[in-house]
Symmetry: C2
Subunit: 227 residues, 2 copies
DNA sequence: TCCGAAGTGTTGTTATAACAACATACTTGT
DNA sequence: ACAAGTATGTTGTTATAACAACACTTCGGA
């Protein structure tokens, strides 16, 4: 029954529902259920398994030195978490994982994922490639975030981010997947300061915006080519 | 002759020099030489190969919207670069790679790395695991940098970074692998402001420092446990 | 239709970091 | 031992973002 769900995940992509389900044995799969708010992994834990959300959702969060909790990420059905830590033995978890709502989680032993057991597991090697792909993609996302937050000013960060979105959309007009608060969090700035700067940029004729729809004006001749 | 070098790299770890060299055929290896300053990869390129530095060194750098060049990383003999992009088809390079000095670079087709060719390649599957490990490690490094630069104040960033270093060293005294400028770059702040804040923190009795040797005072009772 | 909640924009004040400029170490080669 | 260069710390000024407080808009129920 979980096979159908698994076959649709990025991790098991390429396997049929039957094949996916059949692999679970090799992978030391264990399923657990959690109540809303329950802690699934705790900062400092050493992970030997990666987690895959089967139902509900989990939050990846961290408490800073002063006890403020920040949500870093959210994983829903079919998405995996803690896989990075599980892949690097001896590296303690730097975050907490808690259930955002009632959730079922499947834990897979990374050791078993990485070492092809026998020829009965047809898609095992595809599984490893999928995991590498996920890791590389996460890598790029992290790099991009660092890239977009490296500018000192809010305007600089916005231009970096918006230029990227424009390039990715293939034109000067595009919409972004964040609301203002989320964009502020992503760029690591204050929401109200962000709103303020967006207004100024519109007044300065750099952009036009309507809700989440942006247009980059003045394709800053000569600048846009490289960045 | 390159076998001995290869066998010592993180990517080929586990293979003997002979085995490593023998694998090069399967991997579509091509060696290229570059003069100092020569551009090896250009922002926007689509990578099908990962690069491994055989000799010399290369810089991973980026030009921002205003043309300022920032060095993001440096790769020396045995280290690889652009592997993340090569692992995610269709994702254009966001950085430039240039030779920091005269350099020889080995390019390996990621497609060939990921797909085990035949049983003659004994360590091919180990190679994939090595690549995944490298990717996961890079991931953690990026996450840590984001983590340490998420605080709004310089002091907050320093406390985050220094607490981590203390935890990792297993005690309140430790030395760091950065000079002031490098630390400032890492934390994304101004060098002189960093120096200033370090002095203040010492005056405030939070830390003691002597060159790159730090001691965290007042193991901030109650706070340290989680972070 | 009205209410409340969430999202967004605006403004003024305050805290903070960037910046510039310089003084003081500390290296390193000759 | 000296000079030149690099690294680091110090200070005052200025630019900028955080913060707080509020007005305005959507939007989705009740």
């Amino acid at each position: 029954m979980t096979g159908a769900l698994l076959a649709n995940t990025a991790l098991f992509r390429g396997a049929s529902p039957q094949e996916a389900e059949a692999m679970l044995n090799c992978l030391g799969a264990v399923e657990r259920s959690y109540c809303k708010g329950e802690r699934i992994c705790r900062s400092g834990d050493y992970m030997t398994d990666l987690g895959m959300v089967l139902s509900g959702s989990v939050l990846i969060q961290t408490d800073d030195l002063w006890g403020n909790t920040t949500v870093l990420d959210k994983a829903g059905p079919g998405q995996i978490f803690a896989e990075t830590y599980a892949c690097v033995p001896g590296e303690p978890l730097m975050v907490d994982v808690v259930a955002a709502e009632a959730a079922r989680v499947l834990f897979l032993k990374v050791e078993r994922v990485l070492h092809v057991c026998s020829h009965t597991c047809a898609h095992h090697s595809k599984l490893i490639r999928n995991l590498l792909l996920l890791s590389a993609q996460k890598n790029l996302n992290l790099s991009r975030k660092i890239f977009h937050t490296s500018a000192k000013t809010i305007r600089g960060r916005l231009l970096s981010y918006l230029s990227y979105q424009a390039r990715r959309s293939g034109g000067p007009s595009f919409s972004i997947p964040f609301n203002r608060q989320q964009l502020a969090d992503y760029l690591n700035v204050e929401r109200s300061a962000l709103s303020n700067e967006l207004s100024k940029m519109q007044r300065d004729g750099l952009i036009r915006l309507e809700k989440n729809q942006f247009t980059l004006i003045q394709d800053v001749s000569g600048l846009s080519s490289r960045v």
